[in-house]
């Protein structure tokens, strides 16, 4: 027996292989996420049992935390806002095959610009003009941070993934510098953070809950994005460039310009997320403004299939997962690691199911 045929026979004994499926049917697309979540909950139950808790009680607490009362729902919505905005931002870049993973940094820049506007540029303005100015500042801040990798990619071919990722650290550290240094609140008892914004700069909230106007920003952005992608010449150019860049060149589309514009828009949406966090939730720029929303945004965008409606849905689901996990830690006194462990399990199964709708295991 030659070595080659031995390898062949070994491969023959492998019972399964991965194949690309044709277009998944509608039933499959609906069923797979549901089955994925059930499997994730079952697997999570084993993990909970191993750590000595009752899985049903834990799940009930998570669900109650996220949806059980108006407070829970409101908290879920609060967390959904930045996920929605950053998710939309990265999705439009992904549509053009631009791997912007810098939403986190762009969010921070938006927050920094908005903070500067509220505290130093126009602190005496009334609410409507001030909030408008802060929205613009947030959009511009994020756009600038998105433009850097965009321009470098368009004119020098520099890899936007790496540039945008590295700029995250720059943005986060720059914000740390500001809150520890020049922008630090002198009356802050040593806490790293700026002064509180004037009340005119606070985004209106719904009743006594923390849900704020940022929710409207997110939903409006989703609609606008849908219109751009489906109904405009520019959206068509983005789709063509994403699907076949050579055809875009052939058709005379200005790819460089589009790369720059898309990266700016992508960053602007993340910047708006940063603005709405400081103006709607914290009312100041503080350390750890974002627990990684800009990274979770990548998952949001993919699970939402880069479609605005899908992204709206997924951002709420992932927010519920975050809020439910927090409740677990606070309400049941479970170890801090349990919540992220469950979150990870659910994401693992959702993404796995997603892969299996496009690929299948086949018997050899």
């Amino acid at each position: 027996m030659t070595e080659a045929s031995a390898v062949v026979r070994w491969r023959e004994r492998m019972p399964l292989r991965v194949e690309r499926t044709l277009e998944p049917s509608l039933t499959v697309r609906i069923l797979v996420p549901i089955v994925s979540i059930i499997l994730a909950l079952l697997t999570g139950a084993i993990l909970i049992l191993v750590s000595g808790e009752n899985p049903i009680a834990v799940y009930r607490a998570m669900a109650r935390g996220a949806f059980g009362d108006r407070y829970g729902v409101a908290e879920t919505l609060v967390k959904a806002i930045p996920l929605l905005l950053t998710g939309l931002g990265v999705a439009i870049a992904f549509r053009m095959q631009l791997w912007n993973i810098g939403a986190e940094g762009q969010l921070y820049l938006g927050a920094i610009f908005a903070t500067g506007t509220a505290l130093f540029l126009f602190p005496d303005w009334p609410a409507v003009p001030l909030i408008t100015a802060m929205i613009l500042a947030g959009l511009i801040g994020g756009a600038v941070w998105g433009l850097i990798p965009g321009v470098l990619r368009a004119w020098t071919g520099a890899n936007e993934t790496i540039v945008s990722l590295m700029l995250n650290y720059v943005a986060i550290l720059f914000s740390e510098y500001l809150v520890h240094g020049p922008w630090k609140n002198p009356q802050g008892f040593g806490f790293p953070g700026t002064e509180q914004f004037p009340e005119a700069a606070w985004l209106p909230r719904y009743g006594t809950y923390r849900v704020h106007l940022g929710l409207v920003f997110g939903l409006v952005a989703a609609v606008v994005l849908w219109v751009i992608l489906r109904r405009t010449r520019w959206g068509y150019e983005l789709a063509v460039t994403g699907e076949n860049p050579r055809a875009a060149r052939y058709a005379g589309m200005r790819t460089r310009r589009n790369i720059i514009l898309v990266m700016a828009l992508s960053g602007a949406l993340a910047g708006l997320a940063g603005m709405s966090e400081v103006a709607g939730v914290g009312h100041q720029l503080q350390r750890n403004l974002s627990p990684g929303y800009g990274y979770t945004a990548i998952i949001v965008a993919w699970l939402g299939r880069l479609h605005p409606a899908g992204i709206v849905l997924v951002s709420f689901l992932l927010a519920a997962l975050l809020v439910g996990g927090d409740q677990l830690q606070m309400g049941m006194g479970l170890p801090a690691a349990v919540a992220p462990m469950l979150q990870g399990t659910i994401l693992f199964f959702l993404l796995g199911g997603e892969v299996l709708t496009r690929w299948r295991l086949a018997r050899r």
Partner: protein, 525 residues
């Protein structure tokens, strides 16, 4: 035949294969012997490629048996098929472009040690290349090679793996007449050495030149299997399409020009290149001092062996490649180094060499592909917005006018046959009555019926007054359509002949770099 006593190289019995309800192969029986070249012919969608993909281990049949060299076999993957000595050269080559020839040969090769044995493989490439007329530089990188050379690498790779049964899927579709002739010699030599060669093709002239036997498929079934010596082109064409084809009759000795439209010698030049030079992808001059004129109502054919500047010429005229010297004028206006969008707006249609890579978006539906030129203009666009109803009616009209066969306008272009893809592309490019048509291999990989349609469309455009720059490696096509023929060799125009003077022999000499003086013929122009 004495070969009949030897076991058959390949014996397929009762092969059936369905794809999502479509029967691609219906109870097919096919045999090929060792020592013969066996041609498999049929229109696009007749099931040739499916049948051969089954033999290559890419698909598993739903029913039927496969025998190789007399033994019943089951292929679970291409690897099993390779292990049985079967190798296939696909239309789209399976080579790693940034790697060298030798590195590609080593890819996936079994039984290697830690170090790549590059020197040994390079020697082997040279040896096999000399023996079978497949010379190629083992150290060249794939992207630097012409399509014909890449194909040689594919064949060498199969030989090096010990394949005894070679399947070639439309191998000459990408070759020049000279390269095709070389390939045919190579295949005959391989057959004489006892290899079994299965040759899939549309081109009946070549089939009759190379094959010992011919099997004809139509709509998933084998309709005939005959000795090549006992058949004619006309019979084969009738078997393939199931109807008589006018073009095959006309073709024999027909004057290419029908005498309609403005007279090309007196009409205004639409495309003028003077002293044009351009660099190739490897940074060496690919075009030098090219002077050309194409007039209204004229088709100028560009003949030449692949890699002599055809691609660069196409790109220079359509704005996809910068010009380093000279000027390009369209309808008298200097468009040297204008953008593709400006050149398109000047009334230039472009049927590119590789339709799926450049001219279409395979993953988009027909509407998305139909509006690639028109999406900036009303009625498709109103301001920044696209108008859905206008898009739908535009796409439907295109599909109807150009006879694009598709279930509806929402299917992806990828799912159409080559002929229908090309008709969609041509229809789109001809919308708005362009002044100049740059057509590169317009019928490559397209079946006989669609080829006929496309040629008729190009003739109708000439009658309308359009100027056409036809770049093709299919000499028959050039001779059938052109009013004048220019030959590219080494990036220069080495001949510019009226159609009447452009005989295949004379063009062949020019394409090989023998100048008109040396060929003992009068220089035109």
């Amino acid at each position: 035949m004495t070969q009949a006593e030897q076991p058959l190289a390949v014996e397929l019995r009762g092969i059936t294969k369905r794809f999502a309800g479509v029967v691609a192969n219906d109870d097919v029986t096919f045999e090929a012997r060792f020592g013969e070249v066996h041609a498999l012919v049929g229109e696009n969608g007749a099931g040739k490629s499916t049948l051969m993909s089954i033999l290559a281990g890419l698909y598993r049949p739903d029913a039927g048996t496969i025998r190789v060299a007399g033994e019943v076999v089951t292929f679970r993957s291409p690897r099993d098929s390779i292990a049985r000595g079967i190798g296939m050269v696909y239309q789209h080559f399976m080579l790693v472009e940034p790697f060298t020839v030798a590195e590609n040969m080593l890819l996936g090769k079994e039984g290697q040690g830690t170090w790549l044995e590059t020197a040994a493989i390079e020697r082997e490439i040279d040896e096999l290349g000399r023996r079978y007329g497949l010379a190629v530089d083992p150290r060249a990188r794939i992207w630097q090679l012409s399509v014909g050379e890449q194909q040689r690498v594919e064949i060498l790779r199969l030989l090096e793996r010990g394949a005894r049964i070679l399947i070639l899927d439309e191998p000459t579709a990408v070759l020049t007449p000279q390269e095709s002739a070389g390939l045919i010699r190579t295949l005959r030599e391989l057959a004489a050495d006892g290899f079994s060669i299965i040759f899939i093709s549309h081109k009946l002239d070549e089939v009759l030149a190379v094959a010992d036997r011919v099997t004809v498929m139509r709509r998933g079934r084998v309709v005939a299997s005959v000795e090549a010596a006992a058949t004619t082109k006309h019979d084969l064409a009738r078997l393939m399409v199931g109807r008589e084809l006018a073009s095959f009759v006309e073709h024999e000795g027909e004057a290419p020009r029908e005498g309609t439209g403005p007279s090309p010698t007196t009409s205004a030049p639409v495309l003028e290149l003077s002293g044009v030079g351009a660099m190739g992808d490897r940074g060496v001059p690919a075009l030098t001092d090219v002077n050309l004129q194409v007039r209204e109502g004229e088709i100028l054919g560009i003949a030449g062996v692949a890699g002599n500047g055809q691609r660069e010429l196409e790109q220079v005229v359509t704005g996809l490649r910068p010009v380093t010297t000279g000027t390009v004028r369209i309808a008298g206006r200097d468009v040297t180094n204008c953008s593709p969008a400006e050149i398109s707006a000047a009334g230039v249609a472009h049927i590119p060499e590789d339709r799926l890579a450049d001219g279409l978006i395979p993953s988009m539906d027909l509407t998305g592909n139909a509006i690639l030129r028109e999406y900036r203009r009303p009625p498709i666009a109103r301001g920044p917005f696209l108008i859905s109803q206008a898009i739908a009616s535009f796409a439907d009209r295109l599909l109807r006018d150009y006879d694009v066969k598709a279930p509806n306008r929402h299917v992806k272009v990828r799912t159409l046959s080559g002929g229908n893809q090309q008709k969609l592309l041509i229809g789109r490019e001809l919308t708005g009555s362009p002044r100049l048509i740059v057509a590169v291999h317009p019928t490559r990989g397209v079946d006989v019926g669609a080829t006929e349609t496309i040629h008729a469309i190009l003739r109708a455009q000439r009658a309308r007054g359009a100027a056409t720059l036809l770049i093709s490696e299919d000499l028959d096509e050039i001779l059938a359509l052109s009013d004048r023929v220019a030959v590219l060799f080494g990036g220069r125009i080495v001949g510019d002949l009226p159609a009447a003077a452009a005989t295949p022999d004379r063009l062949g000499l020019l394409m090989a770099g023998v100048t008109t003086q040396e060929a003992g013929a009068a220089v035109h122009d």
